[in-house]
């Protein structure tokens, strides 16, 4: 256990070391961007990561959020177990005309009026735990778990895509400057000029009809990769621009000049010298990006441009539930609550992570509704 801070309200500078990990916290060899640590954090055996971890451990809310998020992920990963062992049905299996035997009583899964059976909890052995999803009589709980897999897959993988693209473009544009910077920055501006949702809908609708064919790669319109790629691409400028700004500042530092003087190649400078300095920012962006991606997925799916039916995602479930909003609001509330909990937990954890990795940074990722990402204090 690290010693408790005598004065948690004050932060002392972390001693500057050498090597990449120093840079992880936004610390340049010249000491610029020094991250302050609480007293006692920087013991002889405490590297920057250990310092960050100690800070994070003190943030109980962030850790609780992480636990909630991990719990949701685990539940969703166990969807096939629930479907096969408990509900005995698949996420797309319809039960329109079936009857359910509950405690000697026979209930129709879908009434002639079209109203679906409500939550049965464990009364029917786990079948229709959250009820059925409307006229088709699909098991709402099974669809919720499978839908969570889709939403989480899109949120996390799209964040990875955004990160890879944004870091690559930011390094090329920021380090080389000149025409590579001009081309990349203007391309980013073009994407940035479109409201995220509008661009996502446009791409989603186009690809929802014919799928995506790039050379030998053929993605069907129903593929989860299509909304994933769309979301990953449309958010790229919102991460690439602040990273580029950070690189522009970093490349003027002495350690970069020293690397150049020693004959280091551009590749080495970008990926060995600059990239480690960006790591804390990237990690924070990545985390917050997951939450934004899940929200955008929900919006696109709600509007029919994301995950394609009959596959479920929390967005498609809200869309389907909306058709029965008046008579069965629970069909909208359940996936809505799932999105709320997941996005909230990721965001709170992301904030905690940012505080731990770089307490002075004010990185904000606010790409929704076309608001630009902002880096108040790039370095």
């Amino acid at each position: 256990m690290p010693p408790e801070s005598e004065n948690p309200g004050t932060e002392a500078p972390i001693p500057i070391g050498t090597g990449a990990l120093d840079a992880d916290l936004g610390i340049g060899p010249d000491g610029a961007g020094v991250v302050e640590a609480a007293p006692g954090e920087a013991g002889p055996g405490g590297g920057p990561w250990a310092v960050a971890w100690r800070r994070l451990r003190r943030n109980k809310v962030a850790l609780f959020s992480l636990a909630v998020f991990l719990l949701i992920v685990i539940c969703c990963l166990l969807a096939p177990v629930w479907a096969n062992q408990v509900a005995h049905t698949g996420p797309n299996t319809t039960h329109t005309l079936e009857k359910l035997h509950v405690g000697g009583e026979v209930r129709e899964v879908v009434e002639p009026s079209g109203k679906a059976i409500g939550p049965q909890w464990f009364e029917a052995g786990g079948k229709f735990f959250l009820g059925a999803d409307g006229h088709l009589g699909r098991d709402e709980m099974v669809r919720l778990l499978y839908g969570g897999r889709s939403s989480l897959f899109i949120g996390i993988v799209a964040a990875l895509i955004t990160t890879i693209l944004a870091v690559t473009f930011a390094l090329l544009a920021g380090y080389y400057g000149g025409w590579p910077d001009t081309i990349i920055s203007r391309a980013m501006d073009v994407i940035w000029a479109f409201p995220v949702v509008l661009l996502g809908i446009s791409l989603g609708i186009v690809l929802a009809v014919g799928g995506l064919v790039i050379g030998p790669i053929h993605l069907k319109s129903s593929s989860l990769w299509i909304p994933t790629l769309i979301i990953g691409v449309v958010y790229t400028p919102y991460m690439a621009r602040p990273l580029r700004g950070e690189i522009l500042a970093l490349r003027e530092k002495e350690f970069i000049e020293a690397a150049i003087a020693q004959g280091a190649s551009g590749f080495r400078i970008m990926f060995v010298e600059l990239l480690p300095n960006l790591l804390s920012t990237i990690i924070v962006f990545f985390t917050l990006n997951i939450a934004n991606n899940m929200l955008l997925e929900a919006v696109l799916s709600y509007l029919g441009a994301g995950v394609q039916p009959p596959s479920s995602s929390w967005g498609t479930m809200i869309s389907e539930g909306f058709q029965a909003l008046y008579s069965q609001p629970i069909l909208t509330i359940i996936p809505g609550t799932a999105i709320l909990l997941t996005v909230l937990s990721v965001n709170v954890f992301g904030d905690g992570l940012r505080d731990a990795l770089d307490p002075k940074s004010k990185v904000r990722f606010e790409a929704r509704a076309g608001t630009a990402a902002e880096m108040d204090n790039p370095i």
Binding site: T93, T94, P112, H135, G210, G304, Q323, L325, S327
Partner: protein
């Protein structure tokens, strides 16, 4: 069909009424507040005057008689534009009877059923006071072609029409008019048994010849009917008032066409159907065009049936088409398997009781309809047929639109195809462009999907010729989605199309229905029930639902 399936789909309806809100200006003694639903007993006396307030979920495709081809448009313009012939303002079979409209009497048919002669009534006027002339009819037909109306194919059998369609110049030589006598002579290239029906469509309602040959949805054309449009704002709504020349001139001669009860009608576009229901319940609206949303249909039906709500059967068929030109549906066993697998009972539930199960092309109520059931629901048999066909795990694409519950029907169908041994992928499109996409033969993977068809006119040819005749297959705007092309059946359709409908023809159409289903051209699953929902101060008893035009706005009246 009032084609546009997506619009059609919607066509539900109603009749209205307005609480004779004082603001309505209507006469009398209305309290300014609607009465409760209990207050309106059956057979309540109606009163004249008042302002009827109604709502549509979307603006009609066009508010232009020559161009509109949707139930929304036809219902809206029925009291405004009157063709030479028209359908009786009545329900059921009586509503399918063709009566003289602006023409003095039904046409005299001569020259081997190729020449139609009629006389325009004398002294008729448009709502702007201009005299209605025989040449206005000719211009209306020509304007169909000039505006590339979806209804123009109905008139290509008129001599010179095809040439005019190409050149857009010189007029249609097959239509001769005599302005002094009002005589109108139409010469056809070949006999056409449905021609009287097409003369009764809105497409050829006479309009002033100075009307521009472009969409006039925002600039209402002068009316010949009991009401005229005082305002039309696409996307927002439109309003009617009584045609000042109806009572003094037109109405005296066109006695079979009702003059209407209310003085004004105001229609607004209200996207939220649940809000529409709430507004009718509260009396803010008197009538809504679309049926209550599926989410509230049962509630409304249980609460208001008989007092403010009435289910209305339509002459329509909902079906899954299967593209016969590509595998696996080029194999008849696969098509039969699909017919065995589809369960109309399940689809009735998906449509919350708003369809009645059927497994044939012609719907009940259509001349020539004779009930039969070739493919009783049997999934086991379906699987056996798929096995016999030798086709397994073949990838197919299922198309449907996103309108509820068509989207659910598509999802059900996709699951069913997977269950019997195919690998189906679902594509759900926006209803605004669904039929454009599946009507374009170059669209990839047009394998199978949802469609529906509501009658344009009460003649079985309206179902067979457009939807199943191989000669009607087009590269774009195609309606023969299954691309069915059976030469011997094409010949039968063509032969019957030239004959006037009679008992013998009806029998032959019934046989044709069975032959197409033996061929398993489609997997039909139901005929749609729409509804009439009005506020408590509207007289439901006197509201008329016409099988072609749905709610007769002229029949809506406030209770005393």
């Amino acid at each position: 069909m009032k084609k546009l399936p997506n619009f059609l789909l919607i066509a539900a309806l109603v009749a209205v009424l307005a609480a004779g809100l004082a603001a309505c200006g209507g006469g009398g003694s209305s309290s300014g507040k609607p009465t409760t639903s209990e207050g309106g007993g059956a057979g309540a006396e109606g009163k004249e005057g008042g302002t009827l307030k109604g709502a549509y979920t979307s603006f009609p495709d066009y508010m232009d008689p020559q161009i509109s081809y949707t139930a929304e448009g036809w219902t809206a313009m029925r009291p405004v534009y009157i063709p030479l012939l028209t359908y009786k303002h009545a329900e059921g079979e009586e509503g399918a009877e063709i009566i003289p409209g602006l023409a003095k009497e039904l046409p005299k048919i001569t020259n081997g059923d190729k020449t139609y002669t009629m006389f325009l009534r004398k002294g008729l006027k448009y709502s702007n006071g201009e005299e209605i002339k025989a040449g206005d009819f000719k211009y209306a037909v020509e304007r169909c072609f000039l505006t590339n109306s979806g209804g123009s194919p109905f008139y290509t059998d008129i001599a010179g029409a095809e040439q005019f369609a190409k050149t857009k110049k010189g007029g249609i030589s097959g239509i001769k008019v005599n302005e002094s006598t009002g005589e109108i002579v139409i010469n056809l290239m070949k006999p056409q048994g449905t021609f009287p029906n097409t003369l009764a469509l809105m497409f050829v309602a006479p309009i002033p010849q100075k009307t521009p040959a472009e969409d006039q949805s925002a600039h209402p054309i002068p009316a010949s009917g009991p009401y005229y449009l005082t305002k039309s704002e696409p996307g927002r709504g439109w309003e009617y008032e009584r045609n000042p020349y109806w009572a003094k001139d037109n109405g005296k001669q066109l006695t079979e066409i009702p003059s209407g009860h209310v003085d004004k009608i105001e229609i607004e576009v209200l996207r939220n159907q649940s809000t529409q229901v709430n507004d009718v319940e509260s009396g803010k609206l008197n009538w809504i065009f679309d049926p209550p949303p599926t989410d509230r249909y049962t509630e409304v039906k249980e609460k208001f049936e008989g007092t403010q709500f009435r289910p209305e059967p339509t002459i329509s068929t909902y079906y899954f088409w299967m593209n016969e030109t590509v595998e696996p549906f080029s194999n008849q066993k696969v098509r039969e398997a699909v017919n065995y697998a589809v369960d109309p009972a399940a689809l009735e539930r998906i449509y919350t009781g708003q369809i009645k199960g059927t497994q044939q092309i012609l719907p009940p109520g259509m001349p020539g309809y004779e009930k039969f059931e070739l493919f009783p629901h049997n999934v086991k048999k379906a699987k056996e047929l798929i096995a016999e066909s030798g086709i397994k795990d073949k990838e197919v694409t299922v198309w449907t639109d996103s309108e509820s519950p068509n989207n659910d029907a598509g999802t059900y169908y996709q699951g069913l195809l997977n269950e019997i041994g195919l690998k189906a992928e679902l594509k759900i499109l926006n209803p605004d462009n669904y039929f454009t996409v599946i009507g374009n033969r170059s669209t990839p993977n047009l394998d199978t999907g949802f469609s529906d068809w509501f009658e344009d006119f009460p003649h079985p040819n309206d179902f067979f010729d457009i939807l199943l005749n191989g000669e009607s297959i087009q590269n774009t705007n195609n309606q023969n989605f299954s691309q069915t092309n059976v030469p011997e059946l094409n010949k039968k359709i063509d032969k019957l199309a030239e004959e006037q409908l009679g008992p013998q023809q009806e029998k032959e159409y019934a046989e044709l229905d069975k032959e197409f289903m033996e061929h398993a051209a489609w997997a039909p699953y139901g005929t749609r029930t729409l509804s009439l929902f009005v506020s408590s101060n509207i007289n439901l008893e006197t509201a008329i639902w016409n099988p072609t035009f749905e709610t007769e706005l002229t029949s809506l009246e406030f209770k005393e």
